[in-house]
């Protein structure tokens, strides 16, 4: 077996790094060259000399952080070469523009899954199965207790939650990029026919989706926060940052909920402080991770972003797949 030093991609200072190409993947500190899998802030940091991403990711990022960054963009599947390594982006189904990144060097294939999901999501491209020798996969929800319901079931639950309390304003908290747009479209297809309002940060992202050719149902931008109490029977989509602090204390006539995969566990639901939790995620569940590992045909798998102990043991024992650990 090779040591950490000998792998094409390794773990360095808490980030994935390809030494041969001198390129970092979603670094959390400024570096020379950074591959960005998608436009969520926990995968982006300011101050890199150059960013490389898909076209959609670049546009979303610029919308969020301004034009003052240098990004080189690529289409899905388009190969480019750095120091003899062929690199390409492939759809990961997480949010619009999100990607897996494949490296090919001297007949050896490496695949970084990025954040991914297999569930259907009409606001972004479906996950593409990519074959590889080495797979570096996220495992945020790497336990079998995570099994996502069909998206339309959750959307119907949300619709019921709103319509059962017509005398209240329903506040649904979620990530403003990706999850919000997915929810808007899904909820629009349910029996809930009331108004959907969205917070400025979400509204902005939805517009960006529309400009990129994704059909996001129209929502009303929340202009006057003081009036939230009066929007009885309506749904408001808000970023999670607003659920902390004093924002909620101003309102009496509301019910709150949080849309996240973690909400499938009662203890976490209770601890979250929201009235209700809806288990909907843009990450793969246990079955999703297993499916990707198998279909990628990888002989060697690494995990990051999550607790991988159980998942690794399971793959080794039940599926005879070689799970490797990064030397840190």
């Amino acid at each position: 077996m090779r040591t950490n030093q000998e792998y094409l991609i390794k773990y360095k200072d808490g980030n994935l790094y390809c030494e041969l190409a001198d390129i970092w993947i979603d670094p959390i500190k400024p570096v020379k060259r950074a591959l960005i899998t998608h436009a969520h802030f926990d995968h982006f940091t300011f101050g890199c000399e150059e960013y490389l991403s898909t076209n959609e990711t670049a546009i979303l990022l610029k919308e969020r952080v301004g034009d003052n960054i240098k990004i080189k963009t690529f289409d899905y599947g388009e190969e480019f070469k750095i120091n003899g390594i062929n690199i390409s982006f492939h759809p990961s189904g997480h949010i619009l523009g999100s990607s897996q990144i494949r490296f090919i060097f001297a007949d050896e294939k490496w695949l970084i899954s990025g954040d991914f999901k297999l569930q259907k999501d009409e606001t972004c491209k479906q996950y593409e199965i990519v074959k590889t020798d080495y797979l570096i996969s996220e495992c945020t929800f790497g336990l079998p207790i995570f099994k996502w319901d069909e998206t339309n079931k959750i959307a119907n639950d949300i619709s019921k939650w709103i319509t059962h309390s017509p005398e209240k304003t329903s506040l649904l908290f979620c990530y403003s990029l990706g999850k919000a747009q997915r929810l808007i479209n899904e909820i629009s297809q349910t029996n809930f026919k009331g108004n959907i309002y969205s917070h400025g940060s979400i509204y902005k992202m939805s517009n960006c989706y529309k400009e990129l050719g994704i059909d996001i149902k129209d929502t009303i931008k929340i202009e006057n926060k003081k009036k939230i109490d009066e929007l009885k029977g309506s749904l408001l989509l808000l970023p999670t940052s607003l659920s902390k602090g004093s924002f909620l204390k101003n309102f009496k006539n509301i019910q709150t909920a949080f849309a996240s995969g973690w909400m499938s566990i009662r203890a976490l639901r209770k601890r979250s402080g929201y009235d209700k939790g809806f288990a909907i995620s843009d990450h793969a569940d246990w079955d999703g991770i297993l499916e990707v590992v198998k279909k990628s045909e990888a002989k060697n798998v690494f995990f990051h972003h999550g607790d991988s102990e159980a998942l690794s043991k399971y793959l080794v024992e039940k599926e005879s797949i070689n799970v490797l650990l990064f030397g840190k």
């Binding site: 207790i145 099994k147 566990i265 009662r266 203890a267 009235d275 043991k313």
Partner: protein, 546 residues
Amino acid sequence: MSLKKFSELFGDLDSINSTNNKIEVLKRYFLSNEPIDNSWAIYLLTGKSNKRFISGRNLKNLFSQIYEYPQWLIDTCYLKVGDSAEVITLLLKNKTTSRNKKLSNISLNQLLSKIIPELSKLNDEEKNLQIKNIWETLPEDNHLIFNKILTGTFRVGVSIGLITKSISKLINIDEEIISHRLMGNFKPSIDSYEFLINKNINLEELNSKPYPFLLANNFEDKIFKNSINDFQFEWKYDGIRMQLIKRSGNVSLWTRGQELVNESFPELVDKISYIKDDFVLDGELLVWNFKEQIAFDFSFLQKRINRKSPTRSIQIKYPIIFIAYDLLEINGRDIREILLENRRIELEKYYSEWQNKTKNNITDIFRICDLIYPKDWSDALNFKEKSRENNTEGLILKNKRSPYTSGRKKGIWWKYKVDPMQLDAVLIYAKGGSGRRAGLYTDYSFALWKDQKLIKFASAYSGLTNIEIKELDKWIRKNTIEKFGPVRSLKPEMVFEISFEKIQISKRHKSGIAVRFPRITKWRKDKKINDADSLKNAFELMKKIS
């Protein structure tokens, strides 16, 4: 009516925080379901049943056997979820989604009065098969309820008070009456529900039942503004709160937890039955130290409470006493509306009669509480500080001019507990929590210094805020020295103020001391580990107290 409705009720109650909304949801449920199902719902929601048909451990084993699922994987999941019934519910999603069996639509009554009792008659193999069959034919939404009933872990943030209020609103009858009807052994049946919602109040049926208890609030500083003479002062005993009822010659002992405990204390029932009057007394049951005339620890009571029909030698070894502090009913007359100072006069008058006229001596098992007469508030504080000497928890202040109401109404009774003892200790171990705290390290062990070594002296898991718990959890994960199963040993760095009620010598503990009710009262971020207390400090504290 299907189990589905009850599952929905459970889900709704679990996700509503407002009391009024919970009451509305309950009312709606009671109105739209059959009496028998309502009766079972009340039975489950009020925690009348904690009967366990299968332990959490066995439920996990069973799942593992049925589906050939690795036990270690279930255990890992459990650490995240913290509840066996819920883990299995979540894992079942993977097993039953592609099923094609016809789903069954059973009622709560069928489940509880037929299916589950029959389950306990089967042998292990049949039982496994039957549970598997139920899992695979029960709609997915009902799995949690089914598993929770199986494991007897049915808790959902609904108090008896809430059920009482809902029914009271449903039929427009005083809460006190409903509360009365709900007390004691509630047996689920159509009759018991019809009785509960009966608009005619039948006095005879209520005969053996206790009154709703009046509960004390925590002391507030604003009380110092009142005159000391407004209050009756008593010691706050650490025993079992109890109503002693004698009606038509029958004696019943009811705990505040609404249990009838006659069988555990036959000697008390026997002595009381010699008294000529009928009455209802409110008081405290204690194991009494006759030599020093003070109560023994609560731990002595635990030797008695769970033991039905105690032997003569147990009765002698742990002698009990009932200390009455209030008279609620005398010879059929409900006197709860009479003011406390007058009830006290009645209590003293009757007690002295009973003392003199009852054939057998009753004073060795039944007394009335002594009152304390502090001159002013600072004197009251002195009394409070002395409470440790006579093994009480502090003082109870009762408004002399108050009636006996039900529940925790403000301004009637106040508990004024003695300040806890405290030591600053170093966090050395952490263990994962369960239930609501699953997935977080919330059970902590603390150590004191001895010869430059840290010796474990107490474990505690309560007292931190949710934000502090999360912060500490993060720290724990980063500062683990070693993992032993669910326990982590930690870098000694964090100091906490630990409060407790009692400290005594213990040969069973390495530290040589044992403390009662240890809890975290402050995260001493301002302190370094060298500032923490030593075992020597602990022994000095013990000396000072005794």
